[in-house]
Structure formats: structure tokens, C-alpha cells
Amino acid sequence: MKTIALLGERFLDWLESVGRAGIFLAQSVCRLPVRFKESIRLLVAQLYSVGVLSLVIVVVSGAFIGMVLALQGYSILAKFGSEEAVGQLLALSLLRELAPVVTALLFAGRAGSSLTAEIGLMKATEQLSSYEMMGVDPLRRIIAPRFIAGVICLPLLSLIFSATGIIGGLVVSVSWLGVHDGAFWSLMQQSVYFDTDIMNGFIKVVCFSVVVTWIAVYQGYECVPTSEGIGKATTRTVVLGSLAILALDFVLTAAMFGDF
């Protein structure tokens, strides 16, 4: 009996926190700072720290993943004499799956954790209370620009990931393994469709961007304002964010590509 009661209690706690996070999201999305110029300034600063500073890890990972994919793909395709299809393999796997998922996972680790830590530290040093005391809503001033910047940046980073992945694959397969470059590009062009491949991947990454950034800013805002609390919140951002991405990816893939 006790176990069931405990499970019920846990479930109610969880439900409550999901509800709180939902209200938090709604409140922060509807509330950019009132002054237009100021909101743009805050948003640009966040676009830089969330997006531009994540570029290096995304570009480098994209290039390496493209290169590895080309090597692996080539070794299997060569057995069937169809090594030209490596371009098709690269583009489809990157656009549909790898770019959205891997970029979102990298983003959760690089930008998500830093958002949580930054907001958590602002809470610990009473900066958030300070805004409240000045009659300035911290959701408006701190959370909204960060959330919006995350939602804008992650899809763009994912596109950059795909592009560098394809270039990495091109270098390995064409320059190193000797695949014919005309065949590489034309097979890719033939098999990639805008709505089923590019758009589906894009929809996925937009969903991931909302979920990851939401988790990151919420964990920061709700963390226990101590060094231990911030540490735990940062870990939770990465763990919950990654699990949410992978689970959501399955659901979205099933809905987009599953035949039912």
C-alpha cells in the first residue's frame, strides 16, 4: 500500500512541476521587454552567446560525423558496387536524423547547461529578486530573450551541421576514396526531397529547440540557489534534455516516416 501511495505522490509531484513549467513557458514567451530597442539588444546578446558561441562545436562535430559516415557507408556500399550512393546516404541520414538529433544533444550540453548555470547563479546572487524588487519582471528581462534565442539558434545550427557534414563526407568520399563527384551530387539531388526530408528534419529540430531551451531556462529559474543546487540543475538540464530529445525523436519519426 505504502509503495502505491508513494508512487501516487511522486506522480502528483511530477504533474505539478510539469504544470508549473507550462505556466512558466507561457508567461515567458508572451513577455519580451516592453521597449522594442531594448528587447532587440537583449535578444542579439543572447543569439551571440547561445548561437554563435556554439558554432565551433557544431561545425567540428558535423564535419567529423560526415567523414565517419562517408567511410562507413563507402565500405558497405562498395561491396555492392554502388559507392556513388554515398552522397545520397550522407544527405538523407544527416537531414532526417543525425543533424537534428546530434545538434540538439550538443546544444543541450553546450548552451543548455550554460543557460541553466547562468540563470541559477543569477538566482543565487539575488539578481532575479533584485529585478523583481525594481518592478521589472525577470521572466521578461532574463528568461524571454534566452528562450527565444534558443528557439531561433538550434534550427540554424542544425542546418549548418548538415552542411558541414555533407562537406566532410564529400572530402572523404570524393577526394580520398575516389568516388565520382558528379555521381555524388546528382544521386543526392535525385533522392532528397524538400518536404519529406528537409522539412521533416526541420520540424523535428524546431520541436527539439523548444523543449531543450524550455528545460534549460526552467531548471535555472527553479533551481535551489546554492552551489550544489546549481550543479544538480545543470546536470538535470543535460540529462532531461537529452532524454527528451531522443524520446521525442522516436515519436516524431514514427509520425513522419512510419506507415500507419
Binding site: E126, S130, G135
Partner: protein
């Protein structure tokens, strides 16, 4: 006025019109721990009031309750005649514009320079031109002796300087009430002296109401017109600094003289679970 319906005078005969803040039958608990058990106190208008008490009695909590950042379990708090806990979000933000608060850590915004920190409340709440704001910010910084530090970042300041900048920011909008949360903690004797002088000066020159939360007995008594001592969730003494000094209450005496033995326990109360753990 809303207040007058409830009470005209408190037990010490201070008229509520003279009271800037009136706390009535306030109870507040965190989990199972009772922080306040039905306390009432008055903060007179235009005076410096010191709220003192041992660490952990919830002095900061009181400031957060006054600013309605926390909601009480029971009781009322009137700030300038308004019941702050019945206000809407926008109404509350309007009241907060009249309040300046100096946080224990200073709470300067780490992504702005010192000058921008002080200018921030004016940029948010006034329609002054940027040059006007710059001039006032520089004046406020001058009044705390830090005009030369205007272009520094908060991370480049010492603890005492950060608190003085925070004070300049707290008074940027010429508030009616300034609340100081432990302004003297961790300050060297010179900074302490400077802060004491600034707080007193500010009050004398502009007639604002000041609430000072502290456990530094000497500094607080030296500048306070009115003193409240909290312990064990209750108000154990309220009156002028001289009245408090002359008090015969053993709890008050123990606190003022810093005696280890007395009615205020040195040991944290043990519960049956902590005994089991041992």
C-alpha cells in the same frame, strides 16, 4: 484610508498614519518550521528602524514578506496604507517602484557596468533622456563616493564597494522606503563606518523611511530611531534605541551583550529523528 478601518493606533500609541509599514498578526512557516508566530510590528514613517535578532530568525524573510516576494500564511502587511498581499501583479510592481532594496550580496547585475546598474531602474521606470539619466546616475554614485568606478564591472569591485554601488542603485528612483538586508555583514571597519554614515545621512537629508535588518548591535543601535528585536518567531522588544538598551528582558540583554548562556538557546533543537541518527 484602508488601514484606519482596522486600527487607529498600535499598542505603543504610534498612529497608523505615522506608520509606513504595519505588520499585523503575521504568521509564516517554511515546511514544518515556524518562522513567525503571530507577530505584529510597526515601522514609522521617515525614521530608521532596525530589525535585529539572532541569525536564522527570519529577518531577511521579513523583508521579503514586506516586498510581497513571499506570501504569509496568515496576517496582513500594509505598506503606505496598501495591503501588499491583496494587490494584483501590476499593482504590486507599482508599490515596488517606491521601494529600494539593498540585498545582502549587493545583487548587482553582473552583465552591466556600475554606471548601467545605477541607471537601470531609471531607464525602466522613467521617461528621462539618456543624458539626464547619466547625470543622475553619476550624482548617485558620487553620493556613495564611487563616481570614479562608474565604468568598472561588478566583478572588479570589492565587497564593500559593491554594496555601496547597490545602495546608489537602490536610491536611484528616490524611493520612499529603503530596506537594507544585513548591510554591515562582512565589511571591514572603514566600510562599515561609511555605510552607517550614508544610511543616516540619506534618511536625514531626504526623509525616507529606512528599514535595516542586521545582527550588528552597535552599528544598528547607533543609527536607529526605532528598534525591533525578533527571536524565536516573536517580537521580544520594540522601542527606541535607548529603551532597548535599558531593557531588563533577559532575552534582549543576552542578545545585546552577546552572552552564550541565557534564554536564547545555543543548541539547535533536537528532534526525535536526529536523536535516532546519532
Amino acid at each position: 484610508m484602508v488601514v484606519s478601518k482596522h486600527i487607529d493606533k498600535d499598542k505603543k500609541g504610534v498612529s497608523v498614519v505615522d506608520a509606513y509599514i504595519k505588520v499585523e498578526n503575521l504568521s509564516f512557516s517554511r515546511g514544518d518550521r515556524v518562522i513567525y508566530d503571530n507577530i505584529s510590528l510597526t515601522i514609522p514613517r521617515g525614521k530608521v528602524t532596525a530589525v535585529m535578532g539572532p541569525s536564522g530568525t527570519g529577518k531577511t524573510t521579513l523583508l521579503r514578506l514586506i516586498a510581497a516576494q513571499l506570501a504569509p500564511d496568515n496576517g496582513f502587511i500594509w505598506v503606505d496604507g496598501q495591503d501588499v498581499h491583496s494587490l494584483s501583479r501590476s499593482g504590486l510592481y507599482k508599490v515596488r517602484e517606491k521601494i529600494g532594496m539593498l540585498f545582502q550580496s549587493g545583487a548587482l547585475f553582473s552583465d552591466m557596468t556600475v554606471a548601467d546598474n545605477v541607471a537601470f531602474p531609471m531607464e525602466e521606470h522613467t521617461k528621462l533622456s539618456p543624458s539626464e539619466i547619466k547625470r543622475i546616475a553619476s550624482e548617485k554614485l558620487h553620493s556613495v563616493g564611487l563616481r570614479g568606478a562608474a565604468q568598472l564591472m561588478p566583478s572588479e569591485l570589492s565587497g564593500g564597494m559593491a554594496r555601496r554601488v547597490a545602495l546608489a542603485r537602490a536610491i536611484a528612483l528616490d524611493p520612499e522606503l529603503v530596506m537594507y538586508d544585513e548591510p554591515f555583514t562582512g565589511q571591514d571597519p572603514i566600510s562599515k563606518g561609511v555605510l552607517v554614515k550614508l544610511i543616516r545621512q540619506l534618511n536625514d537629508s531626504t526623509g525616507i523611511t529606512s528599514v535595516l535588518v542586521s545582527h550588528d548591535v552597535e552599528e544598528s543601535l547607533s543609527i536607529a530611531d526605532h528598534v525591533c528585536i525578533l527571536a524565536g518567531g516573536r517580537v521580544i522588544a520594540e522601542g527606541s534605541a535607548d529603551e532597548i538598551r535599558a531593557s531588563n528582558d533577559p532575552q534582549v540583554k543576552q542578545f545585546l551583550n552577546g552572552e552564550p548562556d541565557g534564554p536564547v538557546p545555543f543548541h539547535y533543537p533536537e528532534t526525535s529523528s536526529s536523536e535516532v541518527a546519532l
